[in-house]
């Protein structure tokens, strides 16, 4: 009987050790509801960093910009790396515009097929989000909301996804239809046995 208990205890120990939850590993039956560490961020603290933009437009700031204004922003802030016509300087600075369009384009055939905003990006909101996060490379965060809308509008219009000189704002940007969206499929590799049956 004692051996059975010892075995059960060992098994429990082994099962516990497998779980990553530190609460189980280190707290045992202490299990406080919370550690009550840190503090609630103030609305101001949150606003300063809560910058992400979702495909439904959540997170987009007030403001507006059109392609004509965006062309000026592009020329001064983007063209030195991405080229006057978005041709980029691959591989260091990606090509943004002018990739082949249409459902017949198959990127799996050749990695040299340019993956541009018009043929590869599934959401227009991602473009705004990325520019606001990271661009221009040498002065990230330096564009105003209006400038970011404007340069986004310029790039989308150059790819033929919105009319030339159309304005974009928090309402119209999420409504822009990106043809690449229908290309994306979920990961189906789980359960693959590799080898000749690789996915």
């Amino acid at each position: 009987m004692r051996r059975l208990f010892a075995g059960a205890a060992l098994l429990t120990l082994a099962l516990t050790a497998c779980r990553l939850d530190a609460r189980d590993d280190y707290l045992g039956d202490k299990d406080p509801k919370n550690f009550d560490l840190g503090h609630s961020p103030s609305p101001e603290e949150l606003a300063a960093i809560n910058i992400d933009v979702s495909p439904n437009g959540q997170g987009l700031p007030p403001g507006t910009g059109n392609g004509a204004d965006g062309a000026k922003v592009y020329a001064s802030a983007c063209a030195s790396c991405h080229g006057a016509n978005g041709e980029g300087k691959p591989p260091a600075y990606p090509q943004l515009l002018g990739g082949p369009m249409g459902a017949s384009v198959d990127f799996s055939k050749d990695y040299k097929i340019p993956r541009t905003i018009g043929n590869y990006w599934p959401y227009a909101t991602s473009l705004f989000d990325y520019i606001r996060r990271a661009m221009p490379l040498t002065a990230p965060g330096s564009l105003t909301a209006d400038q970011t809308y404007a340069v986004t509008a310029y790039l989308l219009s150059r790819e033929g996804l919105i009319p030339p000189n159309a304005s974009l704002d928090a309402k119209s940007l999420p409504a822009v239809k990106m043809p690449a969206l229908e290309r994306f499929v979920n990961d189906d590799r789980r359960g693959s046995i590799g080898g000749k049956a690789v996915r």
Binding site: S54, P55, Y111
Partner: protein, 408 residues
Amino acid sequence: MIGGAAAAAGGVLLSQLPAAAQQKATAPPAAPPPVAPPDPTKIPGAPTTAVGTRSPFFTPARAPVGEITGTALTPLQDLSGTITPSDLHFTRIHDGIPTIDPSKHRLVIHGMVDRPIELTMDDLMRFPAVTRTHFVECSGNGRAAYRTPKPDMTPQQVDGMISQSEWTGIPVDTLFHEVGVQRDAKYFLAEGGDACLLARSIPVSKGRDDAIIAFAQNGEPLRPEQGFPIRLLLPGYEGNTNVKWLRRIKLGPEPFMTRWETAKYTDPLPGGKIRWFSFEMDAKSIITSPAYPKRLSGTGWWPITGLAWSGRGRISRVDVSTDGGASWVEAELLSPLTPKAMVRFQYMWQWNGDEHLLMSRAVDDQGYVQPTMAQLRAVRGPGTDYHFNPIRAWRVARNGVVTFEANT
């Protein structure tokens, strides 16, 4: 060819940047030639020092250096065991390595939670920690060897975007418990505090499973290029999702669709499709010796050794072939088999002086067998080379010269 590796990863050398972005990359001073006394047993040695250094006879280095977007690859051919020395851990950065004062760093967790919190580093260190050994591999690992293969590529240049450390940190699940993640939250955004605010959407289930907010690597605080003071560590997931300099976690109902999970790090498939959220790194292995630039000095016994790993679980077996895959033998595994961690394998081989093609093939505990290059290309097409895990081969010539053979 190191330039090729950088180029394939989208590297930007400092010299290519507009002048404003150029900061001088300090070149390491040329090491003096090692001097050893004729008989070290006859004179006292050196006194103790505050911080140790490598033997002057061993000078491994990452490459290339001096970039602010791009990679610096781990010299796999110079290393033993499975732990990558922290200063040689591969680096992939998107707008430089930030300098962060830990006393000013904050981690905010908010969104679909009951109790949003902001934590200082002091706060974070009061939670119970765990220590785990895991690899981190860039999903672009192996691209340069695919796009611009050359016989004179080293393991570093072929697959140097993998490294392994013992990581210590707070389980994400512990913090999820602390903030009260709401039932409908399915993804969390992990955002870094670097100059591009790199951000990725991660399934909440991964956070609950084995994700760690790591503050230490191999017994000391993270290196700056590995995310000092904290990074997300997602065992087995592609490197890019292991967000460094972590400053914010936001819970939401769906992926946030950042640039790094849509326009990049996605896998084109035949028929015009593109696979996204392909997080797990499939089983892979590479022989690190003998490999270029090593030259076999003579016939006889040689260890064939290398590394194997799987992002889905434990490695269960590594096979080695010395005849280009016509026959395989099981290698010895030298280190403990833990999930989502590299193991070192070894196979003692008696070289007869003939030409041989050496290969390794990893099998994991999910029954997954590392495929050949041809098998990968047949299914995914020649234009897809993220999450790229083909069998690697090294050709041993009659003169003992070992070169990289890309096609398997």
